[in-house]
């Protein structure tokens, strides 16, 4: 595990993207195929399922170190990361043992099949006993299932592309789809040419935020608030992929059925939208479908969906992504196999703003602006696609509860519950984690520590004094929430030091924002 340990240590030690890139490159230059493929799997989130629950790991640690549970929990609250806490609480061995990463993971996979908890426990203990501190931390990270090292998949791809002299796009493409952390898979990943399986999606093209002053040679279309989806029909099978690179074919049987009729060798990029009474409905209707393994006929009937296509990526088995957008739109409109999301040519900012002001009425969350000549590239290329969202809705709310964060924010109160007035009572309606500067976080942290009224475990009730402007993307009625409303993507826009708690908004103000 020495190569991997060195890599993770270097990735973790630096805040610089360039240094991380160099660390990855030098790793790939010398790593064995079996270590490399597991490393890519772990860094890109393609890791195996959990061997044991984290609750079990905590119990085992306490048992092994003869430590009271409360003491371990105090340590966890202080450190903010379970894998690290467990690594810090186990002693260093006299001699460190370095098992190759692939061997470790193969043993892991073997044990996944075991039904004997004791066997898993013995294995975990023997690893803890033989590993140095960094190794234990990495091992615990694998066990607890979270690897956040500030390394994006993009960075991994970039370094691999450089070392193995392949286009980034090729590697990104090969990383999509079905994974197996084997040497064969690794050889396919870095091979100079390769045939793809029929389910293989293309990488989604993403948009930049619109900051333009003028608009020229562009199409504009609605930015829908649904599930971005790539629909593939190849070799008489349909595959639906979400942006998160999950196969969602089985969650949308009615769409799968629809696409069965498309000719083989067709790939569409579009959006799945919920429909209620013939109108586009709230995103929450879609969520009911997503969480399920299999969707019943009743579910489909109660929460019907439609697909609106934005783009065509493959036609008659030919990859058409290099063709200009206007040409692809033409192919899409003429193919007749799907509903095309409407698009218009705009030539002036005035026109553009006009469209934007109508977005809400069309139940869109903003506009997409796409250059007519743009090819369907990879990632977030400059100068091809832009998103121009509606301004977030916002409300001034009072800080009611605070909770310490995790990781580097452990020990700092960074998770806030915010409330609005209902007569003389404060009703919580949103939790927000981000949006403040480091200095502001420290200031709020000091306030929380000095103004705690009550403690419930990790949560503190504070004096209702601080006011924040909270922004959110959408708002709808909700029976599950105390306030009767649910907001989407709440975040703090501003620390309103100029306002007193009394001046914050009311629940009536909040409800008025519901369409």
């Amino acid at each position: 595990m020495r190569d991997f340990e060195l890599l993770v240590d270097r990735l973790d030690a630096s805040n610089s993207t360039n240094a991380k890139l160099r660390a990855l490159e030098s790793f790939f230059q010398s790593a064995s195929p079996s270590t490399a493929v597991w490393t890519v799997a772990l860094l890109t989130g393609n890791r195996p399922k959990r061997l044991v629950s984290t609750t079990m790991l905590r119990e085992w640690l306490c048992e092994k170190q003869a430590m009271p549970t409360w003491l371990m929990e105090e340590c966890y609250a202080f450190v903010g990361d379970l894998a690290e806490t467990l690594a810090l609480l186990t002693p260093n061995p006299e001699v460190e043992n370095h098992m190759p990463l692939a061997t470790l993971m193969e043993e892991y996979l073997q044990l996944m099949k075991s039904e004997h908890l004791q066997e898993k426990k013995d294995w975990v203990f023997s690893q803890w006993d033989s590993m140095g501190q960094t190794q234990r931390w990495i091992f615990n990270k694998i066990l607890t299932g979270g690897f956040r090292l500030g390394v994006s998949q993009k960075l991994v791809v970039k370094s691999m592309a450089k070392v193995f002299d392949l286009p980034e796009e090729t590697i990104t493409h090969r990383l999509l789809g079905k994974w197996s952390p084997t040497e064969t898979f690794w050889q396919d990943l870095i091979a100079q040419s390769l045939e793809m399986s029929p389910s293989h999606p293309y990488p989604f093209l993403l948009a930049n935020s619109w900051e333009g002053k003028e608009v020229k040679n562009c199409f504009v279309e609605w930015k829908w608030d649904g599930i971005r989806c790539m629909a593939i029909k190849r070799e008489n099978e349909v595959y639906l992929w979400s942006r998160g690179e999950d196969v969602i074919t089985h969650q949308f049987p009615e769409l799968t059925q629809l696409f069965m009729d498309m000719p083989n060798g067709t790939v569409l990029d579009g959006e799945i939208l919920p429909l209620q009474h013939g109108e586009i409905a709230d995103f929450s209707c879609l969520q009911k479908r997503l969480g399920r393994k299999n969707v019943s006929a009743k579910m489909v009937e109660e929460n019907p969906t439609i697909f609106r296509a934005y783009d065509m990526l493959e036609w008659n088995g030919e990859d058409v992504r290099q063709q200009p957008l206007w040409k692809r739109k033409e192919l899409l409109s003429n193919c007749g196999w799907t509903e095309v999301s409407p698009f218009w040519e705009v030539e002036s900012m005035e026109e553009l703003e006009n469209f934007r002001s109508n977005a809400e009425a069309h139940r869109a969350e903003g506009l997409m602006i796409k250059h007519k000549d743009s090819e369907y590239g990879m990632g977030r290329p400059k100068g091809s696609w832009w998103k121009y969202k509606l301004d977030p809705k916002s409300i001034d709310a009072v800080l009611l509860y605070a909770q310490a964060g995790h990781g580097q924010r452990a020990n700092l109160f960074t998770d806030y519950t915010l409330a609005v007035w209902d007569e003389d009572r404060l009703v919580p309606f949103a939790k927000a984690y981000s949006g403040l500067t480091k200095e502001e976080i420290l200031e709020v942290d000091r306030f929380v520590k000095a103004n705690t009224l009550e403690r419930f475990g990790p949560v503190r009730t504070v004096k209702p004094e601080l006011v924040f402007e909270v922004g959110f993307e959408g708002i709808s009625e909700s029976k599950r929430h105390k306030s009767g409303v649910a907001v989407r993507f709440p975040r703090i826009l501003r620390f309103r030091k100029d306002k007193s708690a009394k001046e914050a908004n009311t629940i009536q103000d909040l409800r008025a924002l519901i369409r």
Binding site: N15, P68, F78, L88, Q408
Partner: protein
């Protein structure tokens, strides 16, 4: 009446009418060491370990009224016997032993067991009642030997030299800075911040020898060098002058990754001048104290742990609020 008690001004000895490390201006103060959260302004009279007198004067002014006593030597105030014993925390740091009518209390001030090459080595002082610091009062803190980290620090400096970079280490100007200067394997020029230089000169007068070092002047252009700055030196505009740098921080808090990334340095070295968890527990055992007061840090965890072990342990509030490591 207890021998020592907590007052808003600090730890107080009613029988002698004297405070230990008070944080408000009082008449007579016995000081454990020269760090600014222990040796504060405004006392009419200071009593301190002999080897810390010049350090305290450098910080609080030449004209303060101060008297120093060597380690182990008793002095009496209204029939109460006081003595200083090395705390191993920084040069000139002491535990304060208080004895009255056969009852012995020991206040550790800040302490550590490890012999660091610059501080007078610590030894435990048997007592009935122990007032211990617990800055690192969590079992997650288990220090490794300093040789391990100084070797790593040396390797890091060499690597930075290969990349043509300067190496900056952030460390408290008194104690940590000298410890680094004394222990890092030299492989180039060493510069120190003027605040560090002042403290280092006084430490040299105590008979401690250091590798060659230079005070960082405005006209200096260090290359591939080691530069020791106090943590506040980061924002000095000084960093700009140093060109391409790697920044490291030496502090016990660096033992936790979250704390390290929050500090936004390139490298963290968990080198601490405080006792780790085991160090505190070992001290409690070694002193054979029956009553333990925990202060400074996270007393609640330590108190609960000791109570469950059958000791009479209590928290003495957060006496000192600044986090240091």
């Amino acid at each position: 009446m207890p021998l020592l008690e907590v007052r808003p001004e600090g730890i107080y000895c009613p029988a002698a009418d004297v405070y230990l490390d008070p944080y408000r201006a009082v008449g007579k103060a016995i000081i454990s060491h020269a760090h600014s959260d222990h040796a504060r302004w405004g006392m009419n009279h200071y009593i301190a370990p002999l080897s810390s007198v010049n350090l305290i004067k450098a910080r609080l002014g030449k004209n303060i009224s101060i008297v120093g006593y060597p380690y182990g030597e008793s002095f009496h105030i209204q029939g109460v016997h006081f003595s200083f014993h090395p705390a191993g925390h920084i040069p000139g740091s002491a535990q304060i032993r208080v004895e009255y009518k056969g009852e012995i209390w020991v206040y550790t001030g800040d302490f550590k067991w490890e012999v660091d090459g610059v501080s007078e080595p610590f030894y435990p002082v048997p007592c009935h009642t122990l007032i211990t610091e617990c800055t690192f009062g969590f079992p997650v803190f288990q220090w490794r030997k300093q040789e391990h980290w100084f070797q790593k620090m040396g390797e890091w400096w060499q690597n930075n030299q290969i990349e043509n970079k300067n190496t900056v280490v952030l460390a408290y100007s008194l104690g940590k800075a000298q410890r680094i200067l004394k222990n890092i394997p030299p492989c180039g020029n060493i510069y120190v911040h003027p605040a560090v230089a002042e403290m280092t000169e006084i430490t040299q007068d105590l008979g401690i020898h250091f590798p060659e070092w230079k005070k960082l002047d405005a006209k200096d252009k260090p290359e591939r060098s080691l530069i020791i700055l106090p943590p506040s030196g980061q924002s000095d505009g000084l960093l700009k002058r140093l060109g391409d740098v790697e920044i490291g921080m030496a502090s016990g808090w660096m033992g936790v990754r979250g704390k390290r990334s929050w500090s936004a340095v390139d490298r963290g070295f968990p080198i601490s001048d405080h006792a780790d968890w085991k160090g505190i527990i070992d001290l409690v055992d070694a002193t054979q104290a029956q009553t333990i007061y925990a202060t400074h840090g996270n007393p609640d965890v330590l108190v609960r742990y000791l109570t469950e072990k059958g000791k009479d342990a209590r928290a003495w509030g957060a006496l000192f609020e600044r986090e240091e490591g």
